[in-house]
Symmetry: none
Subunit: 240 residues, 2 copies
């Protein structure tokens, strides 16, 4: 395949591409590439890591699948190949480094798993009353799936704000927001965002309609996960 797809584990704008080898001894195998929002191509995890700099920990990032793998944990012991790589150890090249919330969704902690899922039972919320007939795709439900043996069943439902919001982008945005700040995640609260999604009134909030997480939600969530300090632990995001 030659198609570039959004990568949920990376910030909006990053693309992932998988190219199948057509011939030779490795026919059928594939190569994975990433493209930054500016179009720069990345062919390996070390290359990506160098670009993102030391501030970002890709330890849990699985280059091939494009997802965060909690199970990988800090196993990064791979030393650079003895030749030409040692040169790029310092800071990333800021001239080419991304402008947009680059580090947003690159998590260090063993959390966050993103999956697609079509068949879900969901509760609807009050917002439905004011919703468009069927103009925008159903969107998302966010919940806190499994934690160890715990099963969590709470959902939040959100709605895409426009056709330009690819599902993955929204997923990514929400995940970013949840992990970047301890502030409450509310979504976009201004109606202006509906008319022109490119004008975000609040870039620290995900591009979705407003929703509310109550203190009680947080308490319950923390309780479920046995958390003391983290307010919200997003464990799974599913497509509805």
């Amino acid at each position: 395949s030659r198609k570039k797809t959004d990568c949920p584990a990376l910030p909006p704008g990053w693309k992932k591409e998988e190219v199948i080898r057509k011939s030779g001894l490795s026919a059928g195998k594939s190569d994975v590439y990433y493209y930054s929002p500016t179009g720069k191509k990345f062919r390996s995890k070390p290359q990506l890591s160098r670009y993102l700099g030391n501030s970002v920990d890709l330890g849990c990032f699985d280059f091939r699948t494009g997802k965060m793998m909690p199970s990988k944990m800090q196993k990064n012991k791979q030393r650079l190949r003895s030749d030409n790589l040692s040169l790029s150890k310092g800071k990333p090249d800021l001239n080419t480094a991304l402008p947009i919330r680059q580090t947003a969704s690159i998590f260090k902690q063993p959390v966050t798993k993103v999956v697609n899922h079509p068949n879900n039972k969901v509760k609807t919320d009050l917002q439905r009353a004011t919703e468009q007939p069927r103009q925008v795709p159903p969107s998302l439900r966010v919940f806190s799936g499994r934690f160890g043996r715990q099963k969590v069943q709470r959902w939040m439902e959100m709605f895409c704000m426009g056709p330009d919001s690819a599902d993955e982008t929204l997923l990514s945005a929400i995940a970013s927001a949840l992990h970047m700040s301890s502030a409450p995640i509310t979504g976009q609260t201004s109606s202006a965002a509906d008319k022109n999604p490119s004008i975000w009134l609040n870039t620290s909030q995900p591009l979705c309609k407003a929703f509310t997480v109550t203190d009680d939600d947080i308490r319950k969530n923390n309780e479920l996960f046995g958390l003391k300090k983290r307010r919200i632990s997003l464990y799974e995001i599913r497509m509805v």
Copy 2:
């Protein structure tokens, strides 16, 4: 060290090389490689054994040191990883262990001859865990028999997925798959296929349980056949 040395235990022209790992978790360890007179590189004893075939008995050969170790003696060990199926080891005489039916040649290509051979490499996959006790008939072994003077000993073992799969059908399906596409042949990988064979998740794959062909298998095969582009050339198919 990077120097290639002669190896007295092997025929003239063969070289041995030991390379120390320079970095990573395994830094300081070494890898041993052998080179055939034509320059082909060998990375393991099984690989070497497959290449040399019956003409050379490597039973006492110590791959790491490159010497014959009488103490090792006929220790038929090392089966395929994660494989508990191909039990025939040692040097069973396949000529007597003949298969029941020789359905072989479906091919128009310069190929196909059918023979039996017990020493095999077989891989099964995770699905094994869910396999029925002994409900389905043994099935098939596929291998790449003779090419000129070369003897090849590699086998793949496959299992019929249901009583409705006539042997011929399976043979045919595999052969078709091998010849119709350059894509890897994997068999059916969904466990769902077990329960109802009429529901094939992947019609481009033969109706058999999933199996694996390693990179080396492919290289070897291509080399034997002097192929540049075809990944797999099925040389023989026998009933077990």
